[in-house]
Amino acid sequence: MQDMFPKMCDFFAGLSSVNLHSMTVFILACFVGYYVVWKVTPALHAPLMSVTNAISSVIIIGAISAVSIQLNSYVTVLGFLGIVLLSINIFGGFVVTYRMLKMFKK
């Protein structure tokens, strides 16, 4: 229990230095997202959903860096699986969006 105080100090010190940057980026991005998405025409809400699904798979870069960490084989397996699943999403998402948008264009 006696190490609780220093741990909390660490926590808040950590919050104020490293994570304030991430938090700033996060909150500003929420605002950008809010204003951009309200402009999307309701007729295109289905493509909006499939394209956002595809771009949220950008976490694939986390999986790619996990694959190359040679610390243990578990990490590589997890990363490999992650890349496969997210590639399904990326390619599938963009292709199905393209199919939909082509219909609207006609």
Binding site: S22, I59, V75, S87, F91, G92, F94, M103, K105
Partner: protein, 444 residues
């Protein structure tokens, strides 16, 4: 260099959504998304295991392209739900990988919190979307789960997150994953079918927050930005869907178990209604000067959009004005009806949203409703005791004649009887929407 490419990638993603603001620029929007993704992946390749990653991408890409090309537009909602579950599962995998590879160095409390939250959201997205996928496919209908049960699991999860922040050991992480997966299941299992558009949008939002969570863990701004934008997008769609049903998000998530347990109100079992044949409908349509077509999920299940378009073209040739009216929650995901009509080449400018068309029903001769039950139910306006009271509806009952295509006289997804069926100016066409419409086309 990598930082700059990542920044460009984030800008591309924002431009991608911005270009979806109109159909004319929308293809460019998709292209921006692809370019942004290519930048991001190229940066990730530098200094990492290229060959192994590339093999994984080829495998996943082949599956993704195959599925996306094969899927029919009717099955779109279930495919999107399935894709959401993949983002959730991957987020959990990446968090586990981060945890395992950082094990030797030790994890500080902040990183532990980020991993815990990311895993929590990712796991909920995974199992929640799987259940949504099964429900949208129609292979699972759902069970009622008491609210306190979900509350209990949520509390356990909160405790496990705190425990992991303190101990950062694999036992608490495994337990957290297990209980988050369980919470995802129990949250979505009781949700009623009519609420599916909200749930799909909500899971879309969760998958974004999960991506942001990974961004926090890896201190990667691109992931944070993308996740936040996707999260905001899903949240806005959920809000629009909720408004379309006059329900609060809290209500949909927590109180929806009633939808399944409540049986249909079958007080009027043997009431008389006017039913007609395709020829009668064709006669009415031929003599109408303005027709509004109202598509609902019935159109999607029977794939009637092509027959409808053919009927619309014949009527137009006859000098009739033909419009399409789309309710925000028609179908099983936002914008589902628009995609199906676009598939059948219905011109963009003939399709109207709820607010733009509702005043036109009073002046229209025939409203041709294709399996859109709850969104046209006048009980939403007149009957305060109805479960859908207050929901904005398409006022088809104001049209001179209503032709209602429906498979049977059963109730809609909300399980509420529709007074419209028994109105003197309604003619029911009972049968498959596609076959019926084709018969009408032949009779025209």
């Amino acid at each position: 260099m990598g930082e700059i490419l990542n920044l460009m990638s984030a800008v591309c993603f924002i431009l991608s959504l911005k270009n979806l603001s109109s159909a004319a620029t929308s293809i460019r929007g998709n292209l921006y998304g692809i370019i942004g993704m290519a930048f991001a992946v190229c940066v990730a390749f530098v200094g990492n295991n290229f060959s192994l990653s590339f093999i994984a991408i080829v495998i996943g890409g082949a599956i993704g392209i195959y599925v996306a090309r094969k899927i029919s537009m009717t099955q779109l909602p279930e495919m999107v739900a399935c894709f959401h579950s993949l983002v959730g599962l991957s987020a959990v995998l990446i968090d586990c990988a981060t945890f395992l590879s950082a094990d030797s160095k030790g994890i500080d409390t902040i990183t532990a919190l980020e991993i815990a939250l990311g895993t929590f959201i990712g796991a909920i997205t995974f199992t929640g979307s799987l259940i949504a996928f099964l429900k949208l496919r129609g292979s699972y209908r759902g069970h009622a789960i008491p609210l306190y049960f979900n509350m209990g699991i949520a509390v356990v999860n909160a405790l496990l997150i705190i425990a992991f922040c303190y101990s950062a050991n694999s036992v608490s992480l495994s337990l957290l994953i297990l209980f988050s997966l369980l919470l995802g299941l129990t949250l979505i299992v009781p949700v009623g079918g009519a609420d599916m558009p909200v749930i799909v949008s909500m899971l879309n939002s969760y998958s974004g927050w999960a991506a942001s969570g990974i961004g926090f863990t890896l201190s990667n701004d691109l992931l944070i930005i993308t996740g936040a934008i996707v999260g905001a997008s899903g949240a806005i769609l959920s809000y629009i869907m909720c408004k379309g049903m006059n329900r609060s998000l809290i209500d949909v998530i927590f109180a929806s178990g009633n939808n399944i347990s409540a049986s249909a109100q079958t007080k009027n079992k043997n009431r008389s209604f006017k039913s007609g044949a395709a020829e009668d409908a064709a006669f009415l349509l031929k003599n109408a000067s303005s027709v509004i077509i109202v598509p609902g999920y019935g159109m999607a299940t029977s794939q009637a959009q092509h027959a409808l378009k053919e009927m619309g073209d014949l009527l137009k040739k006859n000098g009739t004005s033909v419009k399409y009216a789309i309710h925000p929650v028609a179908g099983r995901m936002p914008g589902h009806m628009n995609v199906l009509l676009a598939e059948a080449n219905v011109p963009y400018e003939d399709v109207f949203e709820l607010d733009d068309i509702n005043s036109s029903f009073a002046a229209c001769d025939v409203a041709y409703v294709v399996g859109a039950n709850d969104v046209t139910n006048p009980a939403a306006k007149d009957d305060p005791s109805s479960s859908i009271y207050g929901m904005p509806i398409l006022e088809v009952n104001k049209a001179r004649t209503v032709i209602f295509l429906k498979r049977s006289m059963g109730t809609g997804y909300a399980g509420v009887e529709n007074e419209l069926f028994f109105a003197p100016n309604t003619m029911m066409l009972l049968g498959d929407a596609k076959k019926m419409t084709e018969e009408v086309v032949r009779a025209l």
